[in-house]
């Protein structure tokens, strides 16, 4: 597979971290010790889907542009799911 240019990879990782932080703050996501397992049923993917469903985004489970755009918007600090 073609290696991603460093810049793009960094940007992608930044987006993932931003999304992870968002899910921790507002969707009760707890990153367990393991590193990311990009399986369709990984906890992170499930939480991304939950958030995309709440906001009426396309439910892809991926950090796509719509999701990345959303996690950077100003918002209320209270979670979207009952904690």
């Amino acid at each position: 597979s073609r290696a991603l240019p460093a810049g793009t990879r960094q940007k992608e990782e930044g987006g993932i971290q931003l999304t992870q932080k968002y899910l921790e703050n507002y969707y009760g996501f707890k990153k367990d010790g393991e590193s990311f397992i990009w399986k369709s049923n990984s906890p992170m993917t499930k939480k991304i889907k939950e958030m995309q469903e709440f906001f009426g985004l396309e439910v892809t489970g991926k950090v796509d542009s719509g999701t990345l755009d959303l996690v950077q918007k100003r918002r209320c600090g209270f979670p979207d799911v009952a904690g």
Partner: protein
């Protein structure tokens, strides 16, 4: 809409709030007004009433802070999380915290305090986030139209699920049914859309505008389509009908109401003790037996009292009253003769003379618009 788990809500209808500190981004008077207006959004559609406290405990404690601030939800610097509030309950319950790292404004630039506070007070009253992207309780901050009432039907459904509709609104519906004059024994109720409508007095009142007419008054939030219609006696049983003048001192949460040579001071629906008093205790000479209209200009700390085609003003800073009456048209060019009522809204003065209403710009010192008296109503 959704509520918090277990549907926590306040068991009482009169709630207190206290602003513990102020953001340096806005004048305190603007913070007070934004918070008051944000609460009135919810009180206009429920039986709830909000009373401001300046000391001691209150149901809704409001504060500005950055980063970690003595709860378990630290803020995150500019952007991101901009505020949060807690569900009804004791201690933290109901409290609202605003991130000082935001730039708080009263415009559509920066982060509008009124709009965010209205959302957070939805939480303070028991609403959780809504998935409806038009709803105020949607979690993401969006540009908004300040001239549009911020509650969407989804928000109203949610808050009325918890507290029911505004009972004064119901009274209003009962009492504003315009019966066929041939049937009803009672004189017909004043109709806001009657082009010949005139008012006895008009004043701001806790972020709303109060229009007095005979035994009744309308209460109207500038951003809300509907107006509540009430008997004066339903709010202040001891106040006589047909008031002459009224004005509010927002920073003191006091409203002064005149009838004949007496005046009352009210706070919310309570007449403060020791009233009525005679108007000459305000410094008027004995030959003045009534006031036609009055308003308090918070920007300059002056209260204007209108009598026939003249006025007297009281300057709170020098604590002095004009020695002799001044012709109204000298100070307010274009406003000629006696006026029925006057109030200040944002940076304009609104003078009511018979069926006409004049919008006056004090900076340009001229009338900027000629309006109908029912301009503020959905006619």
């Amino acid at each position: 809409f959704t509520t918090f788990a277990g549907e926590p809500k306040w068991a009482k209808q009169v709630l207190t709030y206290r602003i513990l500190n102020y953001t340096p981004d806005l004048r305190p008077v603007d913070v007070n007004a934004s918070i008051k207006k944000a609460l009135s959004v919810w009180s206009s559609v429920t039986p709830l009433k909000f009373i401001k406290k300046d000391r001691g405990d209150a149901d809704i404690m409001i504060s500005f802070a950055a980063r970690a601030h003595n709860d378990f939800m630290p803020f995150d610097g500019p952007g991101g999380s901009i505020a949060h509030a807690y569900a009804p309950g004791k201690d933290f319950g109901g409290d609202a915290h605003f991130d000082e790292d935001e730039t708080w404004t009263k415009s559509t630039e920066g982060t509008n305090l009124f709009y965010v506070a209205a959302h957070e007070f939805g939480h303070s009253l028991g609403l959780f986030h809504s998935k409806d992207s038009n709803a105020l309780m949607y979690p993401v901050y969006r540009k908004f139209d300040p001239s549009v009432f911020p509650l969407h039907q989804d928000d109203i459904n949610g808050i009325q699920y918890l507290y029911g509709p505004s009972n004064t609104h119901n009274d209003q519906r009962e009492s504003t049914e315009i019966k066929d004059p041939t049937e009803s024994k009672e004189p017909t109720l004043p109709n806001t859309c009657d082009p010949s409508l005139t008012f006895d007095a008009v004043t701001t009142f806790r972020g709303e505008i109060m229009f007095f007419k005979d035994k009744h008054f309308w209460r109207k939030h500038p951003a809300v389509q509907t107006a509540d219609f009430n008997l004066i006696s339903s709010f202040w049983p001891r106040l006589p009908p047909g008031v002459d003048a009224a004005y509010e001192i927002p920073e003191k949460d006091k409203t002064v109401i005149f009838k004949g040579n007496e005046f009352w001071v009210v706070r919310g629906d309570t007449i403060l003790p020791g009233y009525p008093q005679k108007i000459h205790t305000l410094g008027f000479s004995k030959d003045i037996t009534k006031i036609d209209a009055a308003f308090y200009n918070g920007n300059e700390g002056k209260t204007y009292y209108f009598i026939a085609d003249k006025f007297l003003s009281y300057d709170k800073r020098s604590q002095s009253m004009d020695r002799k009456p001044i012709l109204i048209s000298n100070e307010f060019p274009g406003i000629n003769g006696k006026i029925d009522a006057v109030f200040q809204h944002e940076n304009f003065f609104y003078f009511f003379c018979g069926r006409k209403q004049f919008e006056f710009d004090p900076d340009k010192k001229r009338v900027t618009r000629l309006l109908k008296t029912n301009f503020w109503f959905p006619c």
